[in-house]
Symmetry: C2
Subunit: 337 residues, 2 copies
Amino acid sequence: MSARIEDVARQAGVSTATVSRVLSGKPYVSAAVRQRVLDAIGELNYHPSRVARSLRVQRSSIIGLIISDIQNPFFTAIVRAVEDVAQQRGYSVILCNSDEDVEKELTYIQLMLAEQVSGMIVSPTASNNEVYRRLVERRVPVVAIDRRADDVPMDMVVGDNVSAAHQLVSHLIENGYRRIGAVLGIPEASTGAERYQGYQEALLEHGLPLAPELVRSGMPRSQNGYELTLELLGQTLRPDAIFTGNNLLTIGALRAIHELGLRIPDDIAVAGFDELDWMFLVKPALTVVMQPTYEMGRQAAELLLARIDDPERPPQQVVLQPTIKVRESSRRVSVTV
Amino acid sequence: MSARIEDVARQAGVSTATVSRVLSGKPYVSAAVRQRVLDAIGELNYHPSRVARSLRVQRSSIIGLIISDIQNPFFTAIVRAVEDVAQQRGYSVILCNSDEDVEKELTYIQLMLAEQVSGMIVSPTASNNEVYRRLVERRVPVVAIDRRADDVPMDMVVGDNVSAAHQLVSHLIENGYRRIGAVLGIPEASTGAERYQGYQEALLEHGLPLAPELVRSGMPRSQNGYELTLELLGQTLRPDAIFTGNNLLTIGALRAIHELGLRIPDDIAVAGFDELDWMFLVKPALTVVMQPTYEMGRQAAELLLARIDDPERPPQQVVLQPTIKVRESSRRVSVTV
DNA sequence: CTGTTAGCGCCTTCAG
DNA sequence: CTGAAGGCGCTAACAG
């Protein structure tokens, strides 16, 4: 079909070894020969087979990226960042979507291994830590992003979820809200668990009771945010504020509130996670956490490349601080306890 | 490192060829032997090297997907669909982001070729048709999605943009709007050009003049939608309605309108493309086009797989009809001409 | 039904 | 500074 290294060698009147040297920028090739080879490459429009190279060097120049929801803008920003870094360093990216499914995640990890990826970046769906422990032991470069695999000594870059949730909920309390409902992601993911923890701590510190009937959790999809919020707001003693633990859940909650005809922040306040900048549409009173999403992806990619270069370096754990943004004051004067 | 086919063969007491046969589900292997091989595979936790297989069969089980903006929900739905189909048929997906950059697009196409992909799905950034023509001639399976590569006899799945734009603009006109501004994507992409055409035709059919000062175009990013809309609305004789030719531009336009304190539809009407379901936040009066995004991706993947199976089949061109959705009536009684 | 063998395209010693 | 040759792991003839 297309030109092979042998064709180039013949055309340039050298051996394949020399062509290979030129290709990989090795020294010890005379300028004249190098130019001849380069010309031949150009004339034949030669592109080396990455597959053959991968087989030979036992390592492809591919980075695997396994995220849990490609349709979540949070993750697309990460994809974008990883791609940028990868491309700049000569790697390409294989993207897979675990869809919050532990089985799929495992399958894709196997796929990546079979594909000889140089390394992978994964947002672990749940705590199937054994898998990651084994990868680390086998010296497979892998970094966790957004979510942790607890107790596994591996590279990771995550957000400070406890603190962020704590700040959001505290902000609500300090503005007079008392019955604060929570719409959270699944507790199996570290993000869900940590944000729940921040919620609890904030309540306790302000002397408010933990009311299990005010807490709901589900897969992070906007439809769930919608349904869970309807559930919360359908109770006789309904919450006067909602804390949402994930950007898609936030969207769903807003829709539910909208449908019920409740006004923000007079009837109900909302504070939650949201990395998008589209919340401006809901004019008033929304406290949001924006995570430095692109930065997370960038750092994860850098960590991965560093580990590929040095498999024995000590694991790094990067914790990024999210930005709290108050769209409008959620203040309200009367307090109903 | 990990087990190779030879190890499995030894463990099972057979030859590598037999193991290979079992692996690829070929017939002519006795049940007993097959079981022994399967056991050996299990015991050794063997996973065949896809790289070696790719080199051998001169074709990887990878599908390349080149889209122009990973952060655009329109494309993520496509990614999702392609992945679903691919995975189901035993393919994995390499995703690349051309970022509306013709150079990058070309680079990625080369990368895909070097990676020996089975085929690729691309949303062509501009009309670098020669590239696609050459791919088609070389019998490289490739399908265009969302945008066309004009005059190239290739598989494609696109939306009926002219008709959609025509309907949107007509709807505005029929509701009494007369000075209809347009915020469009780049005309180099077929989508931009076709939507502009629909806009023009609708105006002409209703006897309205084409006013160049009412038309703006730029890269499909929300920031551009914002800026271009501000430009349009900053004119002395400002438009009474805006037609937006892309979902991100729509978002930007809404923000601009929001910032200027204009009310929809009393001060200004909006009709545009938007595949998201988040527009509910802008309560009244928005006419939108929703494209069957997932379906586009699915069909593109199916076309690609069909072409991989039969490189000589005639090219198929699938044109999907978008759904027009009127959020609220944009009707207004008084007509200002 | 099963084994032997010859490469796929490239890189990388090891000699010159 | 350059060439010759072996082999990465697998599959597809071709023999048995």
